[in-house]
């Protein structure tokens, strides 16, 4: 029905989009793996990051890619402070309360953004969305290619951090054995905050990679987080490689179902997968058995 070139191009496009999905999912799965909560504020924080990229580009003419280093620092710091001084203290020592605090936070952020920016949809000036690169028979969006490379790079850096540094090992230790961690002198509250900060830093990168071809409004983050949540469940809650592979897979699923079912039904495939995973393999591809 479709020529192989078109299908191939859809697969590649799906992989490229999926990498950025994976980046959003990485932040979500990292926070889940360590704090054992779904961070409901993840979408709102992504929206914030996208507004920040838009603001820097519109007001100061700063290229979204150049905005990555400063925004990563700012969002890491913001995430650290949010967890350390707002979410942590507000949950009074009961981790289950953190979930509710993040939900409240997301409502506050979203409505704050609505109050300031109204519900208008905004995009960046320029023709970044139309620049393409020829790859064999395919024409691939340059911005998406950069997004793909950037997302994989961040995933690799995150993996290095988690496996080679003391802080990374402490993050993985706290994820599974909090008392043992405290007894070797790990400050669990600090590690929680670092983890939350890293999750937000992933969002900052994702926002910088998305904005050249995407738009922002005060609710835009939610769509991504719904997809990211599917990815986290598919990959296994808390699994970093699961989030990466799950992201790429979901990207392809979305692109394929968009091709075969029509653009407006592109996300249908994602949620069919979501339901199938929950039915058949609730621990996901890389999830630990409960």
């Amino acid at each position: 029905m479709y020529s192989p070139e078109i299908v191939l191009e859809a697969v590649v496009n799906g992989l490229l989009t999926g990498a950025v999905y994976a980046l959003v999912a990485l932040g979500l799965t990292l926070v889940y793996g360590v704090l054992h909560i779904i961070n409901f504020a993840h979408g709102a924080l992504l929206t914030c990051a996208m507004f920040a990229v838009w603001g820097l580009a519109t007001a100061f003419g700063i290229d979204p890619y150049l905005a990555i280093p400063p925004l990563v620092l700012v969002f890491f710091g913001m995430g650290y402070a949010l967890q350390r001084f707002v979410i942590g203290p507000a949950s009074h020592g009961d981790d289950n309360n953190m979930l509710l605090v993040t939900l409240g936070l997301s409502i506050a952020i979203e409505n704050g953004l609505l109050a300031v920016f109204h519900s208008d949809t905004r995009g960046l000036e320029g023709d970044a969305a139309f620049q393409v690169v020829q790859l064999g028979p395919m024409l691939i969006s340059r911005a998406k290619l950069i997004g793909f490379a950037g997302a994989l790079l961040v995933a690799a850096l995150l993996w290095l951090l988690l496996t080679t540094t003391d802080t990374g090992k402490a993050i993985r230790a706290v994820a599974r054995e909090k008392l043992g961690a405290r007894l070797v002198g790990i400050d669990v509250r600090h590690i929680y905050a670092v983890t939350f900060g890293l999750g937000c830093a992933c969002l900052a990168v994702a926002a910088c990679l998305l904005m050249p071809t995407y738009y922002v409004n005060p609710r835009v983050g939610n769509a991504f987080v719904l997809v990211a949540f599917t990815i986290v469940v598919l990959g296994g809650m808390g699994s970093v490689p699961g989030a990466l592979l799950g992201g790429l897979f979901i990207g392809v699923v979305e692109s394929m179902s968009g091709l075969f079912l029509g653009d407006s039904l592109g996300q249908l495939g994602i949620f069919v997968i979501f339901i199938l995973v929950l039915l058949l393999r609730p621990t996901g591809m890389f999830g630990a058995k409960a």
């Binding site: 993985r172 961690a181 002198g185």
Partner: protein
């Protein structure tokens, strides 16, 4: 080295420790014995700063530590190898040991790692294996090895013989004696009365959050109250 006065602690409204006094001198092994639920683990949690004391004072090396955080206590060199090992199951053996020197002993991490492997050659064989896949005895070795990585000035061992075969228990007690022979004071918290009393110089018997008996190991072994404290007779 460690001095405890009138220590009180508990969970919520329930007081578990009701005024304890104890002392661990430098380079001695002191045993804290007692039946299940007597408060042994609670005592350890308070000593390592994981559970706050509700009264009394704890001095380590002359400094008050009863309101210090767990990481400050680790930094001071009071290292607690907990009951149930509490190793990091998802991390490799090497990573577990490395995290032992997260707060203390980091500059000499490499040398200490060699020292632990010299003590526990089995851990070297399993160096890249996830700690959760080790046998119970190996996990106990890893927990003690992780404690040694922090260059302890006093080591609290909580039930090191729990769940080990009789042969391994024997080895564990030999090891504790060896660590102590190098000058390391040990607070040994155990249910295994006979072997603990053989090893320790002094012992405290904990019963319902207070000490029923305290004295030298020899005195306690012959004390008729020992049975009562354990069996409630």
């Amino acid at each position: 080295m460690l001095e405890v006065r009138a220590l009180r602690a508990g969970y919520g409204g329930v007081e578990v420790l009701r005024g304890l006094d104890m002392r661990v001198g430098s380079s001695e092994i002191v045993a804290v014995l007692g039946a299940n639920g007597a408060g042994k683990t609670t005592l350890n949690k308070v000593l390592s700063g994981v559970l706050p004391a509700s009264g009394g004072e704890i001095r380590f090396d002359g400094h008050r530590i009863d309101s210090a955080t767990a990481q400050e206590i680790v930094a001071a060199g009071l290292i607690h190898v907990p009951e149930g090992r509490k190793i990091f199951p998802n991390l490799s053996v090497r990573e577990n040991l490395e995290l032992g020197s997260y707060r203390r002993g980091r500059p000499r991490r490499r040398a200490n790692l060699e020292r632990v492997f010299a003590t526990f050659p089995r851990l070297r064989e399993r160096i890249a294996q996830p700690a959760g896949t080790l046998s119970g005895g190996e996990q106990q070795m890893l927990a003690i090895g992780r404690g040694m990585m922090a260059e302890p000035r006093l080591l609290i061992l909580d039930e090191p013989s729990l769940g080990l075969s009789p042969l391994l228990v024997e080895q564990m007690f030999t090891l504790i004696a060896r660590l102590n022979a190098d000058g390391l004071p040990v607070l040994l918290v155990e249910q295994n009365v006979v072997q603990s009393l053989d090893l320790a110089a002094r012992a405290y018997i904990l019963e319902n959050g207070v000490y029923a008996i305290a004295g030298s190991a020899d005195e306690i072994r012959d004390n008729p109250d020992l049975k009562r404290a354990y069996l409630g007779m």
